[in-house]
């Protein structure tokens, strides 16, 4: 029998308690606990749809065991009291950076991480940061435009 235990994860500044087993990924834990804005794409680290911030770093939540996140902090795109995150969401809308929208929750979290690491990235650095987030609609130009726009205000 596989072990299942209660874990506590601080998600968007609130502690969430839930059960996790040895094959529960952080992605699964988030979605099972109502954070369905975190999308499941490939589930093997290729597409970036499930990107969240884990202790401040953008990571693919499909490749992390939920048990490893016990007691730690996760931020998803749903958080609303983060000014940089809100600025990015607005810029993605105003620049038409989203079409079907499936990749957006992940792409925006990568952008949020990038602009903390490197507040003034050039377009190549933005594209490099986004190399783990696949978007099959936009061709990336408008995504890069939106991130560049937000970095201009930093």
């Amino acid at each position: 029998m596989s072990e299942t235990r209660e874990i506590k994860v601080k998600i968007n500044d609130k502690w969430v308690t839930g059960s996790a087993g040895l094959n529960t990924t952080l992605l699964r834990f988030l979605r099972d606990n109502g954070f369905t804005e975190v999308k499941k794409g490939c589930a093997e680290g290729e597409c970036g749809a499930c990107t969240v911030l884990f202790d401040g770093k953008a990571i693919t939540s499909c490749l992390v065991l939920a048990l490893q996140v016990d007691g730690r902090e996760v931020v998803t795109v749903r958080r609303t009291d983060d000014r940089l995150l809100e600025a990015l969401k607005e810029a993605f809308v105003s620049h038409g950076a989203s079409q079907c929208g499936f990749c957006m929750p992940g792409t925006i979290m990568t952008a949020r991480w990038l602009l903390v690491e490197n507040p003034k990235p050039n377009r190549d650095e933005i594209r490099d940061a986004l190399s783990g987030n696949l978007c099959r609609c936009t061709g990336y130009k408008k995504i890069v435009d939106a991130i560049e726009y937000v970095s201009g205000d930093l």
């Binding site: 680290g45 693919t60 499909c62 992390v64 065991l65 190399s131 987030n133």
Partner: protein
């Protein structure tokens, strides 16, 4: 699936847990390989315990003492890429970090994990082979140090004991040497190499010095040091003719397979092409 998850609070505890669970105890740090195996149900045997070493600061560091650089096994690829010690003293490793996976993976994937997984395509393997790196293995009974070349024993297989944990990679700085890391994949981000190549050398009086090192990924069961090709390049001028001649030897020296990413024949030819490109990117063998 495994029955127990244990987070090790110290390196000693991790080593003791490994003794307790033996071969069925599996270490996890970044998890970027293990989680894919769990998802695909492709582990050779079901682990009895997952021992989490990701929080062990004791094996998370990048240090330099005199000319020796050492990197703890659970240091992430992102941290290595950002390190000024690595950038100044081991440029080839920095270049490989740039081409490895994507930032989301690099933020959790670790150096030790990339090596212990022992994929023939491991991006961290060839720069470290070129650097002549040593691996440090620890267990409750002590420490062993071996050259990285002796560490790999086959596809996804390494020469470490059941109770041993890979804790550190160490190598001498190579400040001032010329180096190139090239990776041919199906796209720039997140791809597994079809062929990768690390080249490190110095020049003296117009010829290549004897300490030239060449290593290739995805062209043999293990990340490959190309000794015969190195021999052909030592002491000669890096002219286009000499590089092409060495490329012919390299095509013979590599031992690739055909798979979903490329045929053996293609990999053989591309090995020589990458060798030429590596020299040319550094301004040698242009005509």
């Amino acid at each position: 699936m495994a029955s127990i998850y244990k987070k090790a609070g110290s390196l000693d505890e991790a080593l003791e847990l490994k003794v307790r669970y033996g071969a069925s105890g599996v270490f996890i740090s970044g998890g970027t390989d293990l989680l894919v195996d769990i998802r695909n149900d492709s582990l050779k045997s079901e682990p009895g315990a997952i021992i989490d070493i990701s929080d062990l600061d004791e094996i998370n560091y990048i240090r330099q003492e005199d000319s020796q650089i050492s990197i703890g096994a659970v240091t992430t690829i992102s941290d290595i890429q950002k390190s000024s010690i690595v950038r100044n003293g081991a440029l080839i490793l920095f270049k490989a970090c740039q081409k490895c996976a994507n930032p989301l993976i690099k933020n959790i994937a670790t150096l030790g994990g990339n090596l212990i997984n022992a994929s023939p395509a491991a991006d961290m393997a060839t720069p470290l082979l070129a650097l002549g790196a040593l691996v440090v293995l620890k267990s409750v009974s002590g420490e062993r140090v071996m050259p990285l070349e002796e560490f790999f024993s086959g596809v996804k297989r390494t020469n470490h004991g059941n109770n041993e944990l890979l804790t550190e990679l160490r190598f001498n700085e190579t400040q001032g040497k010329r180096c190139e890391f090239l990776k041919m994949g199906q796209r720039d981000g997140t791809s597994i190499a079809i062929v990768s190549l690390s080249l490190l050398f110095d020049m003296v009086e117009g010829v290549l010095k004897d300490d030239l090192k060449l290593a290739l990924g995805s062209v043999a069961p293990i990340p490959l040091r190309a000794y015969r090709t190195e021999d052909a390049l030592r002491g000669v001028e890096p002219s286009l003719g000499n590089i092409k001649q060495a490329g012919n030897i390299l095509e013979d020296e590599v031992n690739p397979i055909s798979d979903v990413r490329g045929s053996a024949e293609y990999r053989r030819e591309m090995s020589a092409v990458l060798l030429q490109m590596a020299f040319q990117n550094l301004g040698y063998g242009l005509s």
